[in-house]
């Protein structure tokens, strides 16, 4: 059974623009509706076997969930932060420690919220009239995630695939479609395949560092201390004098391809690991298959982001052009160098409002363009490369009960996790 993807960019563009506009106009309160409507649209575009997914989430419940999260989190953040700050002043005489402790304190809640948000979204997703679901287990997820991160950091990232696998397995094994339970098969070592490009890029960058510092030093008087070099760079930036002689400094440009390769490696790992994991997911004998292409995903990312930035840039230039035309070019220049103030006649609140509106529209357009040129093609590629085999098992699945969920994705919303749609 293939997964189809219907819908075109222009419909998405207008939907995102319209709802984004209302979001700006309502000082952000419409964002719950915006998110709901965009999800409805994306979900209905993804059609396994020709039948669209359906998103039945309700903006009002999102608003309610947001309020609930605010009530709980204000006390946590306000009081706990204050006490941490006090302890940090009293015991360590600095505020840095207090701030870092309060950030660290939010991390478990962050994972918790991530799982709860997933549970909410799955509980409000249906296909062919049957609900998806995710079992309870957010705290279990939070401490597992913390432990896996700790292990990953201690192993200098070598065990990253292990973390990816086990966290995904935790979530997948608790995912349900009607009465059918999803299972994550496979082993964690299979994900190393996805990490190959990143590993190669890392080795390239590491080799470059070794070459430039030890084998054929960039600074031949190699006994210079690291501190001195740093000071030298600072001095060069401030005064424009380079206090030491570089040996073929053009070799530094090799770091550019190294960086690009690392970014590619990271994107490749993120999506190809999803493919490998998907290939090992099954429920009721139904088997998932993904033919996702890591290179293509990267191209979508790079091209999409570039196009979106370019359009945004031209848009801003266009606005400036209109302003110049309205005010006259000379007035613009004079305003810039401060000899005249063309907006000076306007009342202050009006000029503040104009600037705020321009500022918010940049964000609005960025999110709209991102939807159209990045999220849309990414979703499309992921959808159409996915297929389901052995779908006979579907007939044994029946409906599951509704997961009432008062706080919706409130915590995720409040903690700024909602960056994905």
């Amino acid at each position: 059974m293939d997964v189809w993807f219907v819908g075109n960019r222009s419909a998405l563009f207008w939907l995102a623009l319209k709802s984004g506009f209302w979001t700006v106009l309502t000082l952000g309160f419409y964002r719950f509706w915006m998110k709901t409507r965009l999800r409805r649209w994306y979900w209905s575009a993804i059609r396994p076997g020709g039948h669209p997914l359906e998103y039945v989430g309700d903006p009002w419940e999102k608003l309610l969930g947001f309020f609930i999260a605010v009530v709980i989190l204000t006390f946590y953040i306000g009081i706990v932060n204050l006490l941490l700050m006090f302890a940090s002043f009293s015991l360590f005489q600095s505020s840095v420690l207090g701030y870092s402790a309060s950030v660290v304190g939010v991390i478990p809640i962050w994972f918790y919220a991530q799982y709860r948000a997933r549970r909410y979204v799955l509980a409000r997703t249906r296909w062919r009239g049957v609900r998806f679901g995710l079992e309870k287990g957010a705290w279990g997820y939070a401490w597992r995630a913390l432990t896996h991160w700790l292990v990953t950091i201690c192993s200098l990232g070598l065990l990253w695939p292990r973390m990816t696998f086990y966290l995904e397995k935790y979530k997948t094994d608790r995912t349900l479609f009607g009465s059918g339970r999803l299972k994550q098969g496979g082993r964690w070592v299979m994900l190393y395949r996805a990490a190959i490009p990143f590993a190669v890029a890392m080795m390239f960058a590491g080799g470059l560092v070794v070459w430039l510092i030890w084998i054929d030093p960039l600074l031949p008087d190699g006994d210079a201390e690291f501190d001195e070099i740093l000071n030298g760079i600072g001095l060069a930036a401030d005064v424009g004098i380079i206090p030491f002689t570089w040996e073929r400094p053009l070799r530094l440009f090799l770091f550019i391809p190294a960086m690009i390769a690392m970014v590619y490696g990271a994107v490749h790992y993120r999506f190809v690991s999803k493919r490998i994991l998907a290939d090992h997911k099954h429920a009721q004998g139904v088997q998932m298959r993904s033919r996702l292409n890591g290179l293509r995903i990267s191209v979508i990312y790079v091209l999409g982001t570039t196009i979106a930035y370019t359009i945004l840039l031209f848009g801003i230039l266009g606005v400036l052009g209109v302003a110049a035309a309205l005010l006259g070019f000379d007035a613009m220049i004079e305003a810039q160098i401060g000899t005249a103030d063309p907006l000076g006649d306007l009342p202050q609140w009006l000029s503040i409002a104009i600037i705020a509106a321009l500022y918010l529209s940049v964000f609005l357009f960025w999110s709209v363009l991102h939807h159209v040129f990045v999220t849309f093609p990414l979703m499309r590629h992921m959808a159409i490369t996915l297929s389901l085999n052995n779908v006979a098992g579907l007939s044994q699945i029946s409906q599951r009960a509704r997961d009432e969920f008062a706080e919706a994705e409130g915590f995720a919303e409040a903690l700024d996790l909602g960056a994905a749609i």
Binding site: V6, G28, W41, P52, G78, D416
Partner: protein, 384 residues
């Protein structure tokens, strides 16, 4: 890559009474099994129902009242629609032949939001929680806790902050801004502190520094640090004005304002960040609101320090109006801030403070100068 077709289009069959519609390519989902069922569609206009027949299934067909059928919103793709019946939250009809739709009058009618009372209650609770936190709980706790910060901790905090300020004003890569060390000038400052009745020569004694910078300002830091900029001394016309500013800053130290402020700054910003969520550009609003809140805190602190200064000056035999004179000079240089803007800066409007300081001076009392002309001259030369 070729796209599979959208939900396919059907054509209306030529039924004599026009009430039978094409059910080919349409599908019914009963809300239990994820299996599409083929349908026959008939509109019974007399009864006002859509009859959905399920020819391949043992189950009988279903009847949906026409005015209770709704269409799903925000659906991608041009062809076909998905219908639901308000009486059954789960069943769906994926309809290929959209000609049926004209028999359904309320396709887009929305259900009223459920649980409005509950929503309002939580909304109120959220607003109240934030207001109580920012307006009452955090300030109260900060004020209480500030008195428990050990003096050594406060002192170290002040020292670190002082170092950071000196470095920031000097610019990166340069040595920190020098402290003025004219011995006679510092001795004159010391005399001033004694005259103002400030506790000296103990561990907790206030330390006064002059920084070699043209800014016309002075500030207090946790741990009893009072810092003048040279510009302030240059701008003063008499030692009394410097004494007035000094007394004001000492007032901040006595009230532990710098420590309270540092503690308070921890809470509200996090709470506000939470409120705005991931709303585009929330950071700017956040910054403005934070400014407003901290300014409101600070306006109270400024008035408190002013009150302290009036009393200390009065006791030292110096006219409290000196503070007003100094502010007058500041106003001449920078202008006053009135209206909206005054809420965004930490000092109450200068005009009102000048008036209050002049009112604090007793008209029938004869005041003296706090320093001799000679001491004043050496204070003015403290940075040379």
């Amino acid at each position: 890559m070729t796209q599979p077709p959208d939900l396919p289009v059907g054509t209306m069959q030529d039924a004599p009474d026009g009430r039978i519609f094409d059910g080919r390519d349409s599908g019914y989902f009963d809300g239990d099994a994820p299996v599409p069922r083929s349908v026959t569609l008939m509109v019974d206009t007399a009864a006002g129902v859509l009859e959905i027949g399920l020819p391949d299934s043992v189950a009988a067909g279903v009847r949906w009242p026409l005015d209770e059928i709704r269409q799903l919103d925000d659906t991608a793709g041009q062809q076909g629609v998905i219908l639901r019946w308000t009486g059954d939250p789960l069943a769906r009809l994926h309809l290929a032949d959209t000609l049926v739709l004209r028999h359904m009058p309320h396709l887009t009618r929305r259900a009223p939001p459920k649980g409005r009372g509950r929503l309002a209650a939580w909304a109120f609770a959220a607003v109240a929680a934030v207001a109580v936190q920012i307006g009452v709980l955090v300030p109260l706790l900060a004020d209480r806790l500030a008195t428990f910060v050990p003096p050594a901790g406060e002192r170290a905090l002040g020292e670190v902050t002082f170092g950071q300020i000196r470095q920031a004003l000097a610019g990166t890569g340069l040595p920190p801004l020098p402290v003025c060390e004219g011995a006679q000038g510092l001795a004159a400052l010391e005399k001033m502190l004694v005259s103002l009745g400030v506790e000296r020569e103990t561990d907790a004694a206030i330390k006064v520094f002059v920084l070699d910078h043209e800014m016309v300002n002075a500030f207090a830091l946790p741990g009893g640090y009072v810092v003048f900029f040279r510009g302030m001394i240059d701008a003063a016309l008499s030692p009394n004005e410097i004494a007035a500013v000094l007394a004001h800053e000492v007032g901040h130290v006595e009230n532990r304002d710098p420590t309270r402020h540092a503690l308070r700054s921890a809470g509200p910003i996090g709470i506000l960040g939470l409120l705005l969520g991931d709303f585009a550009g929330g950071a700017a609003v956040l910054f403005l609101t934070e400014q407003l809140i901290s300014a409101n805190y600070a306006q109270g602190a400024e008035s408190g320090a002013d009150e302290f200064a009036y009393a200390a000056l009065e006791d030292a035999g110096v006219s409290p109006a000196a503070l007003g004179d100094m502010f007058d000079r500041l106003r001449a240089e920078y202008g006053d801030t009135d209206g909206i803007v005054s809420h965004f800066v930490s000092h109450p409007t200068l005009t009102s403070r000048i008036e209050r300081s002049r009112a604090a001076a007793q008209p029938d009392r004869s005041y003296r100068d706090i320093l001799t002309d000679e001491d004043w001259a050496s204070l003015q030369a403290v940075c040379d």
